[in-house]
Structures are given as structure tokens and as C-alpha cells.
């Protein structure tokens, strides 16, 4: 039976490859998992204790059958841990704890969804598109990147990147919208009818700066924003209190664990 409660599994890499910017890795695991878009895994696969801590990666896809699951990750090499992952080969072992955290809440009917991904943040929001497609819900995708080569390959983009549904943005104008993804969201928002806006929900993942801007843009318009945070994590399942973010708790601020109470937060709660 597929598992939903977190487990620590020994996986084995099936494929691991990339275009120098983004890597996609498929791993076989002992059983099939069920996950919600926005949930993540803690991954480590290197020998030795340096680096020591596992790395959080969004669950990009999961499949397989009873007693024989697979899980896919998409990642960007930004430091030592991800560099080590990128050097692993098919057949190499990989330790994974999954599924972790609270995913996006896609339960509300008849909504219009905007999925906003900054940088590798798309890996967290694309799985939501898969579910929304199944639910035949209306959605658009906004992707921001520094330049053309930093955008995800077109075939990964939900709906194949159809213009009008997929808004690609580059800071340097080498592809799509010339400017930041938050600017594209703002422009599109300005063109939205009030009736549409009333049905709009935003799912976002990317640099904290981007999430803050989206929140500042959408919250005053009463557009709900579910923001997925990417804090540093040690454990990923709520036992170290290392990953906290400040949230509003009545009059005060409190620290909530991103791995446990998040990584998806209502943007109104977060102290940006």
C-alpha cells in the first residue's frame, strides 16, 4: 500500500541527468508513495559526514506500483550538497525521508489558480498543475528566471508552456516577458476582471524576496496566496526547530517550523 506518513527509505537511483542548470533524478524506492503537491523529501546520498545534513527537495513526481515505487526530483546545483547529488549515477544508493510537510490546499472548487515559480521554485508548483489538470481546474503558470537558459525545459512546463497559460519571464529579456516574474504577475492582475480576481488563488515558490512581493501584491486585493518557503533545514520532520519562520500569532509573532507547519503557509500569516 502506498504510504503517506513519512518514512525513511533506502532508494536506488534509476536516472540522474541534467542540462548543466537543472537536474532531474528518478529513484526507485521500496514502496509507492502518495503525496500532495508541495510536499518534500529529505535526501542524502553521499558517503561520509561532510556535508552532514540531508537536503530538502520537493517531490516532483511519484509513481510505481505496490512494493515498487519511484519518486522524481528536479534540482539545481547551488552548493556542495546539490553538486554531490549531480555526480551520482544510476545504481547509486540514495537515502530519502518522505513525504514531508504540508502541501498546497487545492480543495477549493471553482477557483482560478496561478502557479508562480521563481528559479527552481517551479519544481514545487508544477506538481500542483498536474492535480489541477486532473481536476480540470483553470490555471496559469508564471515562471521567473535570470535568463533563458535558467528556465526549465519546455517539456517540463505544465501544458507544454502554451502562451497565455504559461508566462515565462526573464530578468534579462532573453526569453518571454522582459522583467521579473512579480512584474508579470502584477501586469496580469491589473488586467483581471473583479469577478475573476474574486476566484483567484496563488500558489508560489521561489526566493523569499519574490514571495514577499507576491504577498504584498495579492494580500491587499484579498487574493489568497499559498507560499512555499525554502528555509534551511536540519531534520525536515519537526524535531530540531531549526527551520522556523516568524508568523503572526494574534498580536505577537511566533516561530513556526517550515518543515512541519509548512513549507506552505498562508502568505497573510508570514512576517515577511
Amino acid at each position: 500500500m502506498p504510504f503517506r506518513r513519512p518514512r525513511f527509505v533506502n532508494g536506488r537511483i534509476l536516472h540522474n541527468g541534467g542540462n548543466g542548470i537543472f537536474y532531474r533524478m528518478e529513484v526507485s524506492i521500496p514502496d509507492r508513495i502518495e503525496f500532495l503537491p508541495g510536499q518534500f523529501a529529505m535526501v542524502s546520498g553521499w558517503p561520509g559526514n561532510d556535508p552532514l545534513l540531508p537536503r530538502p527537495l520537493a517531490i516532483f513526481r511519484a509513481g510505481g506500483a505496490r512494493g515498487k515505487g519511484t519518486v522524481e526530483f528536479v534540482y539545481k546545483v547551488v552548493g556542495r550538497g546539490t553538486a554531490l547529488l549531480s555526480g551520482l549515477h544510476g545504481g547509486d544508493p540514495l537515502q530519502i525521508t518522505l513525504p514531508l510537510g504540508n502541501g498546497f490546499d487545492l480543495g477549493r472548487e471553482d477557483r482560478i489558480w496561478w502557479l508562480v515559480g521563481g528559479g527552481v521554485g517551479f519544481s514545487t508548483v508544477f506538481p500542483a498543475a498536474v492535480v489541477l489538470e486532473e481536476q480540470r481546474a483553470a490555471f496559469e503558470v508564471f515562471l521567473g528566471a535570470r535568463s533563458r537558459d535558467q528556465l526549465p525545459p519546455r517539456e517540463w512546463v505544465p501544458g507544454g508552456g502554451t502562451p497565455g497559460r504559461a508566462h515565462l519571464c526573464t530578468d534579462d529579456g532573453t526569453a518571454g516577458f522582459f522583467g521579473r516574474v512579480t512584474d508579470a504577475v502584477r501586469e496580469r492582475m491589473d488586467r483581471l476582471k473583479a469577478t475573476e480576481r474574486a476566484r483567484l488563488s496563488i500558489l508560489a515558490c521561489g526566493p523569499r524576496e519574490m514571495l514577499r512581493e507576491i504577498a504584498e501584491l495579492a494580500v491587499p486585493l484579498e487574493v489568497p496566496v499559498q507560499a512555499s518557503l525554502e528555509n534551511h533545514m536540519a531534520c525536515g520532520f519537526g524535531v530540531c526547530w531549526g527551520c522556523v519562520t516568524a508568523v503572526r500569532d494574534g498580536e505577537k509573532t511566533a516561530y513556526r517550523r517550515v518543515c512541519k507547519e509548512g513549507p506552505v503557509f498562508d502568505a497573510r500569516e508570514v512576517v515577511w
Binding site: S44, A234, F237
Partner: protein
């Protein structure tokens, strides 16, 4: 005793507290224990040591709270916790239900607060012991002021000793010149056991942003990096006191745990290793058992403290 199946006896005694095996979770790395129930039955552990408890709920330090270092990590959580009241009300019944042997790690900003927390826990029947954190480096009032010299530690221990009838374990700071004399001070003041080591004070900075890695600037170093220091201090403490010594610091594997037992530890605690592998504690228990089988030892007691110098 080797039973019919030839299973070695891992029973470990920490004073009057009998543990089914020597492996406990270290405070602050295991939440309140319940977070591990998806992974395994926590009653399999020697004991669960819960996150440090204070009199009142504590918000903890601002992020950034953790930073990775070579084979280790620094933390400055600042003892975020739900406070002793909520612990007793919400957590204790569930730990008891789970059949777990559990120990409360406590700290206070003042001696009076320590006493108060200890008193509040004294009536909790299922609680096995109280571990007095006299060594958290991350809050000004978190015990380090008491734990870094024999006199301060002695005073604190004596007062808490009088405040509770529960077995009292005193957790020592490694940031001292002479761990033996600190351990002796705890023993003389009435501790039933000493636990060591807590984290070593460390620091990380980013040479580009020119900022500290932790909002608290300094933090506590844990993980495999500190194992050689922990092992040495546990060995020294074992020579210095007659009460049981509980060893911690960088234990990742059964071999690591056995090293601490070999130098004389009554039991061990596993901290940072839980982060990379949530099953670390039970894998270590199984590994110790397998080791004793290979070495044809019936009791862990036949192995403990048998270092050949």
C-alpha cells in the same frame, strides 16, 4: 543473559533507572518523541529525552538558527518549547500511551525556575528521570552560567536535588578546562548520573556577506565532528566519578555507541544523527545487539568499560 534465541541482554542501568537498552535520544533532536512514531515504535528506545522544557513556553531565537559545518552543525535554537504545563497536559499522556520510557530535560533562567520545573514534574508518575540542562550555550540564562564551573553547578544541582524525588541526571557542558572536576561537583551535589557532552560553543560567518551564520552569532557544535572530544571527556568523567555517566556526542552508528560504552558509559544518547536518518536510534540498538552476538557476549555489561590501555 542469552535467551533461547541467543539474544544478548542489553539492559542498562542508570542508577535506579533500568533501561531495556543503552540507547536514548538526545534532548533537542527528538522533539517530544511523538514526531518519531511514524518511523518506529518509540518504546523500543532505552529512553526518549524530550526537548528542553522551561517553566513558561519559550519562543526561541530568531532565525537563522542552524548552520552546517564540516561533519557537524551549529545550532542556536534558543530552547523553543511549549513549557512544562503543556508538556504535562498534552504530551505526557501520549508518551505514556506509547509505552515509552522518557526523561524530561529541563532548564530555567534562574535557579528558582529550575526548581519550579522540577517540582512540577515530580508528580508525573510515568516520568523516569529529570535531566538538568546546565549547559545550553544558546540562551544567556540557559544554564551555561551555572555549568561552566564546579561551584555554580554544585549550587544548582543541590537546589534541584532538594526540589524533586525523581532521579536527577545533570547534563554537563564541554566548554570547561577540567570535565572531571565538574562531574565530581555534580556527583557531590547529589546527581544520580551525569550526561555529557552538550554542544561545544562555535561560530560560523559568511566571508562574503560578512555576517554571522547564526542570528545568535555563536551556537552549539554537534555531530560527528565532536565525537573525539566527547569520547575523551566521557572517559575522563568515568574515571572521576562513581555515578553512572551517559555518553553523547557525534554518535552515528553502533560502532560509535560501542566506543562510548567501551570507555565506561552506562548508556548513550544519539542526537544529530536522527536528522539524517530518523531510524538511527533503532539501527544502533540492532547494531549493538549484532555486535555482541559476533563477539559472543551474553551481556552488554561484559563489554562496558573494558578498554585495554
Amino acid at each position: 543473559m542469552v535467551n533461547a534465541a541467543g539474544t544478548p541482554d542489553l539492559t542498562s542501568r542508570v542508577g535506579s533507572v533500568v533501561l531495556k537498552n543503552p540507547v536514548m535520544s538526545a534532548s533537542g533532536t527528538f522533539g517530544y518523541g511523538l514526531e518519531f512514531t511514524p518511523f518506529y515504535d518509540i518504546s523500543r528506545l532505552g529512553a526518549v529525552i524530550v526537548k528542553g522544557l522551561s517553566l513558561l513556553p519559550t519562543p526561541g531565537n530568531a532565525p537563522q538558527r542552524i548552520v552546517e559545518t564540516p561533519a557537524g552543525m551549529l545550532n542556536a535554537i534558543g530552547l523553543q518549547n511549549i513549557g512544562v504545563e503543556r508538556f504535562v497536559r498534552d504530551v505526557v499522556p501520549r508518551l505514556a500511551d506509547a509505552g515509552a520510557t522518557y526523561v524530561a530535560n529541563i532548564y530555567g533562567r534562574t535557579i528558582e525556575e529550575y526548581e519550579e520545573v522540577a517540582r512540577r514534574l515530580s508528580g508525573v508518575a510515568s516520568l523516569a528521570a529529570i535531566e538538568l540542562n546546565a549547559s545550553c550555550p544558546n540562551v544567556k540564562e540557559g544554564g551555561i552560567a551555572f555549568g561552566s564551573n564546579p561551584e555554580g553547578l554544585s549550587g544548582l544541582t543541590r537546589r534541584v536535588r532538594e526540589a524533586t524525588g525523581k532521579p536527577l541526571w545533570v547534563k554537563l557542558s564541554p566548554n570547561v578546562s577540567d570535565i572531571g572536576s565538574v562531574a565530581r561537583a555534580a556527583e557531590d551535589a547529589g546527581a544520580d548520573a551525569v550526561t555529557l557532552i552538550n554542544t561545544i560553543v562555535g561560530m560560523a560567518v559568511d566571508c562574503r556577506t560578512r555576517r554571522p551564520g547564526l542570528s545568535n552569532v555563536t551556537g552549539g557544535l554537534s555531530g560527528p565532528a565532536i565525537k573525539p572530544v566527547a569520547l575523551r571527556m566521557v572517559w575522563e568523567a568515568c574515571k572521576a566519578v562513581r555515578i553512572p555517566v551517559i555518553g553523547i556526542g557525534g554518535i552515528q552508528s553502533a560502532e560509535d555507541a560501542l566506543e562510548f560504552l567501551l570507555v565506561g558509559a552506562a548508556a548513550v544518547q544519539v542526537g544529530t544523527a536522527n536528522f539524517r536518518n530518523p531510524n538511527a536510534c533503532v539501527e544502533i540498538i540492532d547494531g549493538i545487539r549484532a555486535f555482541l552476538v559476533r563477539e559472543r557476549l551474553a551481556h552488554l555489561d561484559d563489554y562496558r568499560g573494558t578498554l585495554r590501555i
